[in-house]
């Protein structure tokens, strides 16, 4: 444990240096995240003639800008890295290092967060300028936002890692993640706010893990929940985080027994 605590900051520093070295590519990846703005366009057009449910044009702007912010801040790409390293056999090198490969990847992904913040600053500025009155007025909500964002990132990372471990057994693990992404886009509130869903979809979406990855932090920013409700939802989010942590660890262990390095 103390060894990990000693090594992890160094891994973070290396990861950060890497993110800075590839800054041009990194920025382009960030700019490729535009789906909330595409969705904002259609809803803003729909709300020209008056509010949709309880969303005004400004309300939609607040929702989708917050969604963009959460997506930018909680990105991860470990599934692609895992599938590539497993296929190419470079995973062998990682396994030799004295620290768990999942921790190494997590350091890479966390170290990119400062760079993500740089891109997020203009979005925060626009959000404050366009829709300040739509944001939560309760400091408690903003306090809970920190653990909620961390939980959202962990969920995203762990699901990717879990699917990535399947690459130790199957070829098409990355395709599986693509399918998961399709469901997630709909059920996490990334495309449409959950409270505008048809009833049956909504009842499904509120119990699945997807919402905790995007919708919950967004709702906290918009102050949709009372303090008690917010705490309960945060608890549910972290329960999912723990569940995925346990499953991912188990999947990694059993998958590794199947792993035969290529090359040599």
């Amino acid at each position: 444990m103390t060894r990990i605590l000693r090594l992890y900051p160094q891994l973070l520093r290396t990861g950060f240096a890497e993110a800075v070295a590839y800054r041009a590519e990194f920025l382009i990846w960030m700019f490729s995240t535009n789906m909330p703005l595409v969705m904002l366009a259609i809803w803003a057009a729909a709300a020209r003639s008056g509010p949709v449910a309880n969303y005004t044009q400004q309300g939609f702007a607040a929702y989708y800008l917050a969604a963009l912010l959460v997506r930018l801040m909680t990105g991860a790409w470990v599934v692609w890295e895992m599938t590539m390293e497993i296929r190419q056999g470079t995973l062998g090198l990682r396994l030799l290092r004295p620290i768990h490969p999942l921790l190494q990847w997590s350091a890479d992904n966390i170290a990119a967060i400062p760079m993500r913040g740089v891109v997020a600053i203009p979005v925060i500025g626009i959000l404050l300028y366009v829709a300040r009155s739509e944001l939560s007025h309760d400091w408690f909500s903003w306090l809970l936002l920190c653990p909620a964002l961390l939980g959202a990132w962990l969920l995203y990372f762990l699901v990717q890692a879990m699917i990535g471990t399947l690459a130790l057994r199957f070829e098409s693990a990355a395709s599986l993640f693509d399918a998961w992404l399709g469901f997630s886009n709909v059920l996490s509130g990334y495309l449409v706010p959950l409270d505008l869903f048809p009833k049956a979809f909504r009842e499904l979406a509120v119990v699945l893990p997807f919402r905790f990855q995007l919708s919950l932090p967004v709702e906290l920013m918009l102050g949709r929940w009372s303090r008690i409700e917010a705490l309960e939802l945060l608890g549910a989010q972290w329960a999912y985080v723990l569940l995925f942590l346990v499953v991912t660890r188990a999947a990694w262990r059993s998958g590794l027994r199947h792993y035969a390095a290529y090359g040599g």
Binding site: Y22, A24, E25, I28, W29, F31, S32, T33, N34, M35, V38, M39, A41, I42, W43, A45, A46, R48, S49, V52, A53, E171, S172, S175, D178, A179, G182, F183, N185, V186, L191, V192, L196, F197, P198
Partner: protein, 262 residues
């Protein structure tokens, strides 16, 4: 010209044979393509659950736009992107030399070098979406409208292809930004809505600078019989102009290209 057609045919045959080796991938990726069509449809269904009309478009009319979007996305991600991503890979590794040395036009050789035939599912899905849309409208499009729409579809594919070529030309200068094509793919997502959804500056940008209106809105209007002849002619000319420009820039970039290995 005959020679060019033969090159294209040979290239196409090789890429299809290549892709068909991976049969399981065919099934998996095909299913995924269907899933993503569903994901694309979902927001539209929710929006029109709350409103009968958005920005002057009814639900079935909007479906026609979305149908073109799904079809063009299939073309973009099924042929143009995979092929042109290979060019960028060639530039980085220095293997583009081998392509340039071949006795045929390089642009022709790279443009169809890799295709993903399962994206045909997108075209089938687009057909189904058109079917539903015109069933709801209650009439089929006339022959003239279909022909005009087909002409505009040709123009749309040409524009899409030209933008992709332009993006790749940038890669010759700045190899670092090899993911620029992904950025364009995500900007293309805007074309799922008709151009009247946007207002002010954005409307101008998406019509003239980055002609997304030309890609889906105009073919949809043509199919619905709402496109004025003036706009149609303008769109066709605009597409040709754009393609000529892209070709000129591609040739200029090729001239600037110095192999990575030298």
């Amino acid at each position: 010209m005959m020679r060019a057609a033969r090159v294209v045919r040979a290239q196409l045959r090789a890429s299809i044979a290549m892709a068909l080796q991976y049969r399981l991938e065919f099934a998996v990726e095909g299913a995924l393509a269907l899933l993503w069509v569903g994901v694309t449809l979902f927001p539209l269904i929710v929006v029109f659950g709350t409103r009968p009309e958005v920005a002057g478009w009814t639900f079935p009319e909007m479906l026609v736009v979305l149908g073109w979007f799904v079809a063009l996305k299939g073309v973009l991600e099924g042929t143009l992107s995979p092929s042109l991503l290979q060019v960028i890979e060639h530039v980085r590794k220095g293997t583009l030399d081998f392509v340039l040395l071949k006795p045929a036009d390089a642009q022709l050789l790279v443009s169809l070098s890799k295709i993903e035939p399962w994206r045909l599912i997108d075209l089938a899905a687009a057909g189904a979406i058109f079917g539903v849309a015109f069933h709801r409208i209650g009439r089929a499009p006339g022959t003239g409208q279909v022909l005009l729409a087909a002409a505009l579809l040709g123009a749309a594919v040409l524009v899409l292809y030209s933008i992709a070529i332009l993006v790749v030309s940038v890669a010759f200068v700045a190899v670092r930004v090899d993911n620029l094509l992904y950025l364009f793919q995500s900007v293309f997502d805007v074309a799922r809505w008709p151009s009247t959804v946007f207002r002010g500056l954005l409307a101008v940008i998406f019509t003239f600078v980055l002609p997304l209106a030309l890609l889906t809105t105009y073919p949809a209007l043509a199919l619905l019989g709402k496109l004025t002849p003036g706009t149609a002619v303008g769109a066709l000319f605009g597409a040709l102009l754009f393609a000529t420009l892209a070709r000129a820039i591609w040739l200029a970039s090729i001239r600037r290209y110095t192999s990575a290995s030298s």
